[in-house]
């Protein structure tokens, strides 16, 4: 009964040997490159969820089929993970036995000379003494083994060390990346200038904690946005500078600190960093009912649609009867043409305009289905008005009024805890060092043999780097000179 079991083990052993072979590793490496291509061709949920949604709207059946093959989540897909996990298992299976082999090699004598040196690299014959050759090799710090009339010498052992360091450090990088995704978190929050962000789960517009990240571990800092300055090039409309000034507290009763945040200069709270990622405008509006009672008041963040910050948004007033919704666009510098209608021609507030269409009916905010704060489902609503407002203007409609009081900027803060990144960085630096050692250090053997009173010298460049023949030449000339 033990025969099939043995077969099982030998099969496993066979598979393991196949998996850890150089050939398989190379194929897996090439496959990994091939597998990452679709993610650069199709929109990915992790980067542009809106484009994925667009894809589904334009081609529902095709998109559904593609989704089944994870083509919108390529880098988190089972097949992509399978390839890189296999590759790393193969790598570990390659590197660890090799390290062990190499460790024993260090204490071994250099490889004995082949029976004939004539076919090796840089073959030379000369008159000389074996002891001179040995002296030269010793002086040039070769490791030497002499047996009878033959010397075997080797140098450049560090190359293999570099090779191993490189491959082992790739494993460190992968562990760092894995650590980040498991123990880290990232979240985003839009805050209006003047508001304060308190780092609790409810403050986030979206929050993605890693599997082993405990929400209770969110550091208790607060950030108050004091001022946001955006400057733009008057000719190209391209942004020149974003500067956010904030007052932060590491904890509720900690001292207040004034700081600035820029695109390349995030805030740091321990292992958590806060990035300035996007900005836009929040029109300040007041909505009153027929009796003049205020039903809604405050800033409403609008979502930019283009580089000139033409923005769209929605103002929902469920407290009115019937419920009222405003579908709006905001133009920091209003312009108009026949094709686009109203649009913004510059991202700064040169001539701000708020365009609203007023809808009455059911906002469907009680259905429990999550809604976009920037959109209103107007399918079962009736439009009762349409107007363009300048700052200070009021528009009267059937059941109330809306006043456009002003504009404040908002900023999108991205909060990231990435505990694995130091390890990934450390691994990367180590990888480069290992790589340079393994590519630039020549590992070579030189053999010297005395045959009929003459010396034969030849060698082998283990990693095929040039220079061995020159070295043998130098050795021969210096040996002659020494005489």
């Amino acid at each position: 009964m033990s025969a099939p079991e043995l077969q099982g083990i030998s099969l496993l052993r066979y598979l393991w040997r196949q998996l850890t072979s150089m050939r398989t590793a190379l194929i897996l490496l090439l496959l990994l490159g091939l597998a990452s291509i679709p993610g650069s061709v199709f929109p990915q949920r992790t980067q542009s969820p809106l484009k994925v949604r667009e894809y589904f709207e334009n081609n529902p059946s095709g998109a559904k089929l593609m989704d089944r093959f994870y083509l919108f989540d390529v880098y988190g897909s089972p097949w992509f993970s399978a390839i890189y996990l296999l590759l790393f298992i193969s790598l570990i299976g390659c590197v660890i036995p090799r390290s062990w082999h190499y460790f024993r090699e260090i204490f071994k004598a250099p490889t004995p000379a082949p029976s004939s040196l004539e076919n090796m690299e840089g073959f030379q014959q000369l008159d000389g003494k074996l002891s001179d050759a040995e002296k030269w090799l010793k002086k040039n710090r070769f490791r030497i083994a002499r047996s009878g009339k033959t010397i075997a010498a080797e140098k450049g052992y560090l190359r293999e060390t570099g090779n191993l360091v490189f491959h082992l450090s790739l494993i460190v990088v992968l562990l760092g990346i894995a650590g980040s995704s498991v123990f880290g978190m990232r979240g985003e929050a839009i805050i209006n200038v003047g508001e304060r962000f308190i780092n609790t789960p409810t403050s986030y517009d979206n929050l993605a904690p890693g599997r082993f990240f405990s929400i209770a571990n969110l550091p208790p800092f607060t950030i108050k946005a004091n001022n946001f300055d955006a400057t733009y090039d008057p000719e190209t409309n391209a942004p020149l500078d974003y500067t956010l000034t904030v007052t932060t507290q590491d904890a509720i009763d900690a001292p207040l600190i004034k700081r600035t945040v820029k695109v390349n200069e995030p805030l740091t709270f321990g292992s958590t960093r806060v990035y300035l990622q996007a900005n836009g405008y929040s029109p300040l509006v007041t909505v009153k009912d027929k009796t003049g009672a205020v039903k809604f008041e405050g800033p409403v963040p609008f979502l930019p649609q283009d580089a000139n910050l033409t923005s769209i948004g929605a103002i929902k007033v469920p407290d009115m009867d019937p419920q009222i919704g405003f579908v709006g666009s905001f133009l920091p510098t209003a312009a108009r043409d026949k094709v686009r209608g109203g649009f913004s021609s510059f991202p700064e507030l040169l001539d701000p305009r708020l365009l609203v269409s007023v809808w009455k009916g059911d906002l469907k905010m009680d259905t429990g289905v999550p809604q976009s704060v920037y959109r209103i489902d107007t399918d079962e609503m009736e439009r009762i008005g349409l107007w363009a407002l300048r700052i200070g203007e009021t528009y009267q409609f059937e059941v109330g009024s809306i006043t456009f009081n002003g504009v404040i900027p908002w900023v999108n803060l991205q909060v990231v805890r990435d505990p694995g990144k130091q390890y990934a960085l450390f691994g990367s630096i180590l990888a480069i060092i290992g790589l340079m050692i393994s590519l630039f250090i020549r590992q070579r053997r030189i053999w010297v043999r005395e045959v009929n009173g003459k010396l034969e010298i030849a060698g082998l460049a283990l990693n095929r780097l040039p220079g061995l023949e020159d070295e043998i030449h130098r050795m021969v000339t210096e040996m002659k000179g020494a005489k």
């Binding site: 150089m22 050939r23 590793a25 190379l26 490496l29 090439l30 990994l32 490159g33 990452s36 291509i37 993610g39 650069s40 929109p43 990915q44 992790t46 980067q47 542009s48 484009k51 390529v74 880098y75 990346i177 990232r186 090039d233 000719e235 190209t236 391209a238 942004p239 020149l240 500078d241 974003y242 820029k262 695109v263 390349n264 200069e265 995030p266 960093r273 990035y275 990622q277 991205q414 990231v416 990435d418 990144k421 990934a424 960085l425 990367s428 630096i429 990888a431 480069i432 790589l435 340079m436 590519l439 990693n463 095929r464 040039p466």
Partner: protein, 298 residues
């Protein structure tokens, strides 16, 4: 001098470089044609270089002058913008043409690369011509995401690697061309003066082995920068993805050569494929692609 003056000076210098490169191209063409003729007349097996050595030297000298003019043009572009001139495709292209030319001239000091002069000058003329006609943009200030010391480090490493990759690609392509010729029979008269297949094979490998750590560094420097600017060090942005693919292919190439003992044709194809992904990344992601690496039009 005002910023505009520097910008005009830079444009003039880049045009000037294009002109001088054209002269180098003409002399290289003359040299090649003459060498072919000399080879036809002379003994069929010997490679006769003595007759063309002088014109070849002159061509390379003119090529070096063009490269100096281009260097000055790139520097003037930087002065006019008040920063390193690496923020759009026009600037990448003129700098790329410069590093490619420098790689050719520097490697040429050690190995005889004069035979490469003709294809290299054609490539540089194409790069510069496209840059001037299609990609030109007036100097503009940097967008906030690019305001970082990493712009210098990351982009310099990427462009330098690109120049050397391109040179290694040219050599690998020459290898494949000569190889197919030799398999059919003899090399044509023009090709007789080119180095042996083995020399080409070794040279393209050495260039890749030399520059691969730099490319690795370029990718890592990009990751460090992305962490500061975008809040993540790796996000599978199309540019990142293709840089990764280039890295993987060159890594596979080095493994195939050193460990699996690949040589010659197979290795040259792999080298060519890897280099093409670099070019593809440069052109496709910048022009048609999406993602965070697209700035200011082009």
């Amino acid at each position: 001098m005002s910023k505009t003056d520097w910008a005009y000076l830079s444009n003039d210098l880049v045009y000037g470089a294009l002109f001088v490169y054209t002269i180098a191209f003409i002399i290289y063409t003359y040299e090649t044609a003459f060498a072919v003729k000399a080879n036809k007349e002379g003994s069929s097996s010997e490679i006769d270089r003595t007759k063309t050595a002088k014109s070849g030297r002159i061509a390379t000298f003119v090529y070096a002058i063009a490269t100096i003019v281009l260097l000055l043009g790139v520097v003037a572009r930087g002065v006019s913008a008040g920063r390193v001139p690496w923020s759009n495709m026009y600037e990448f292209s003129i700098t790329g043409a410069l590093t490619f030319s420098l790689a050719y001239l520097i490697v040429g000091r050690k190995y005889d690369l004069r035979w490469l002069g003709l294809p290299i000058s054609i490539a540089v003329l194409l790069i510069l011509g496209t840059a001037i006609t299609l990609l030109y943009r007036p100097t503009a200030p940097l967008v906030p995401a690019l305001k970082s010391t990493w712009l210098v480090v990351h982009v310099a490493a990427a462009i330098l690697s690109g120049g050397v990759f391109l040179l290694s690609n040219t050599i690998a392509a020459t290898y494949l061309w000569l190889d197919s010729m030799e398999r059919k029979g003899e090399r044509s008269a023009f090709a007789k003066r080119l180095p042996s297949l083995e020399v080409l094979d070794q040279l393209s490998y050495r260039l890749v082995a030399f520059v691969f750590p730099l490319w690795t560094f370029a990718v890592i420097a990009g990751a460090i920068w992305a962490e500061a600017a975008w809040g993540r060090y790796w996000g599978w942005d199309p540019k990142e993805t293709w840089a990764f693919i280039t890295w993987i292919l060159y890594a596979a190439y080095l493994h195939a050569r050193v460990t699996a003992g690949w040589k010659g044709r197979k290795a040259a194809w792999l080298c060519l494929l890897a280099g093409s992904t670099y070019l593809f990344n440069y052109v496709w992601v910048n022009v048609w692609g999406t993602g965070r690496h697209t700035y200011s039009g082009l």
